[in-house]
């Protein structure tokens, strides 16, 4: 399944991913809650056990692929290293596996490419190499944090196809982090919308786009140029996202919300029925007709 984590900059979507991957910056820590991978709570495990569990079951792909690769090691060496660490394979086996993986992610002539270095690759090829690195050892969960944001649209579409294809053939779960609602609509099964550090709405992708319940979600969708008639003014959300050190009390969206009441300024709304809002929008009157999802 693909879960999309969507929100504007500073809403905490990347921090969520880093927390899952155990890569929080030094000053950050998980202050509470639980993080379960196949039923085992990472937060309750010792650091060493948590590391082992993470190494076996999840991996991530980030935006800056070229910066994420080691410039002085060949691409093949780097993928092979991941194979060795995750699977405990021998050097020779790992090398063969690395070439196979590079071919799997669509690099032409993987044998030769494995001997090349990141600076000899284009941005798209580096992102493919990062994906090869991430799927080494068949992770159960792939975290793709703005993995295609830096790429041109034609390339982005190809990389997303690759991720979807791998997800199906390897049976991975994917957490897909993005600010682009178009990508969410095209790629996610379920969506979590984040605002100022909290998930404000969770829904199946079809329901979310057809009948958003949280006013923030509706505001986001309404501000998309694609959803407007041409030459009409875009609908906007007034104001700006609060900074994390000056969060309003109560519902963090209340100052920008057209439906806010006094209660919103005082009480933090609980997440229930898939949304965290005191005054949710009523769902569309007619039941949502869900089309067959197109999987080819």
């Amino acid at each position: 399944m693909t879960l999309a984590l969507v929100g504007e900059s500073g809403c905490g979507k990347s921090m969520t991913c880093l927390a899952i991957a155990g890569l929080l910056p030094k000053r950050g820590r998980v202050a509470g809650g639980a993080l379960r991978i196949e039923g085992r709570d990472l937060c309750a495990l010792s650091e060493k056990d948590a590391r082992t569990l993470r190494r076996r079951s999840l991996s991530s792909v980030f935006q800056d692929a070229t910066g994420g690769l080691n410039p002085v090691r060949s691409i093949g060496w780097q993928v092979a290293e991941a194979v060795r660490l995750r699977k405990g394979a021998t050097r020779r086996e790992a090398q063969a596996e690395a070439v196979r993986l590079l071919g799997r992610v669509g690099l032409p002539d993987p044998e030769r490419r494995a001997r090349e270095y990141p600076h000899q690759f284009s941005g798209g090829m580096n992102q493919r190499a990062m994906i090869a690195l991430a799927i080494a050892g068949n992770p159960k969960l792939l975290i793709a944090d703005e993995a295609t944001t830096a790429l041109d649209v034609t390339l982005q579409a190809q990389i997303l196809d690759l991720i979807a294809d791998l997800r199906e053939s390897l049976g991975m779960g994917v957490i897909f982090v993005t600010h682009d609602l178009g990508l969410v609509a095209q790629n996610a099964d379920r969506v979590a919308v984040m605002y100022a550090g909290r998930v404000v709405e969770r829904a199946d992708v079809a329901d979310l786009f057809a009948a958003p319940r949280h006013p923030y979600t509706r505001g986001l969708l309404a501000s998309l140029p694609e959803r407007q008639r041409k030459n009409e003014r875009l609908s906007t959300i007034p104001g700006t996202v609060p900074t994390i050190d000056a969060l309003p009390p109560g519902c963090t969206f209340a100052p920008r919300c057209p439906r806010a009441s006094e209660r919103c300024a005082a009480d933090v709304p609980e997440m229930a029925l898939g949304y965290a809002c005191h005054h949710p929008l009523t769902p569309a009157p007619a039941p949502v007709v869900r089309r067959e999802r197109e999987y080819s």
Partner: protein
């Protein structure tokens, strides 16, 4: 009436790699034979992927870098050389806004000082700054703040206000909303359109984002590796592009509607290195429709009833 801006066969090349005693430095054409026309009050959208020369083009139009060949005519007069008196006079009428608003502002100066700066340079009354700030929706109190105290959307408003102080006829916008979040992006897009309506501004709107372009532009020009491969009125373009690259671009845009999912990304491979573009038709190695003629001859930009496309096979493909 003459067009506000007319660019004829612009060419600009840059050096790649170092020159040595035995070898001339290689050069590549960032912009290669581009012609454009922009009328008053019109928005021409320029779209293309990274390395296609769209930012170089916007610099040429402003006269910020000299072109190697071809020339720009602004309101009937050829663009004078940079840093001449005539150029400075003309620059009042052409302004530039680009993606990095924070980088375009001095972190140590107040917002008001920076909005007034063009007025000081040109010796115009400073009161105009107030009006410009009001026009972009900045309250006067903002004037005494510094850039770090403002959000990304507000900074972009400041940059727009600064461009407006001189009452320009044309604003070149290089990715003006790409760095902004969707909800803020919508505010700035609305602002840009309101200003155009109220002041009759013309925009050269450079972006990689087709959905924004569809909203703001009257005409669209698609660039690929330094060339314009298609130019068409907005509606005609979005109803069906002629050039295979333009089609691939349109297909690749993710539609924000889960009911209209497509899992068929255009299979056109990775883009080539812009510093070493393929010969003949530059798109042929990625083009699913390429034939021998595409590999041998460079297609000219031909007219197809109010729109232009540079492809040998337009007639066959549009059937």
């Amino acid at each position: 009436m003459t067009a506000l801006l007319h660019a004829e066969s612009l060419r600009k090349s840059y050096q790649v790699g170092r020159r040595s005693l035995f070898r001339k430095a290689r050069r590549f054409n960032a912009v290669d034979g581009v012609s454009l026309t922009l009328e008053r009050g019109e928005t021409l959208g320029i779209v293309g992927e990274s390395g296609c020369g769209k930012s170089t083009l916007s610099r040429l139009v402003l006269g910020l870098s000299p072109c190697d060949e071809g020339g720009v005519v602004f309101d009937g007069t050829p663009l004078p050389g940079q840093d001449t008196e005539a150029w400075r006079r003309l620059r009042r009428r052409v302004q530039l806004i680009y993606q990095d608003a924070a980088g375009a502002l001095d972190p140590r100066q107040t917002i008001r000082t920076q909005i007034e700066e063009p007025l000081r340079i040109h010796g115009l009354p400073l009161e105009r700054a107030q009006k410009a700030m009001a026009d972009v929706g900045l309250v006067p109190a903002m004037g005494s703040r510094h850039p770090f105290e403002l959000s990304g959307g507000q900074l972009q408003r400041v940059v727009i206000a600064r461009a407006l102080t001189l009452n320009p006829d044309l604003i070149v916008m290089d990715e003006p909303v790409s760095a902004l979040d969707v909800s803020i992006q919508a505010q700035i897009v609305n602002l840009i359109q309101d200003l155009q309506r109220d002041r009759g501004l013309a925009y050269l709107f450079v972006t990689h984002d087709l959905s924004v372009l569809r909203h703001v532009s009257d005409r669209v020009a698609v660039m690929y590796l330094g060339e314009v491969v298609e130019e068409a009125p907005r509606d005609a373009f979005f109803d069906g592009a002629l050039h295979p690259y333009a089609r691939a671009l349109l297909e690749a845009v993710p539609v924000p509607d889960p009911a209209r999912r497509s899992r068929a990304a255009p299979r056109i491979g990775d883009p080539p290195n812009p510093a070493a573009p393929p010969p003949a038709c530059r798109f042929h190695p990625r083009c699913p429709f390429a034939t021998d003629v595409c590999r041998a001859e460079r297609p000219a930009l031909r007219d197809f009833g109010g729109r232009r496309a540079a492809c040998h096979r337009v007639e066959e493909l549009s059937q």
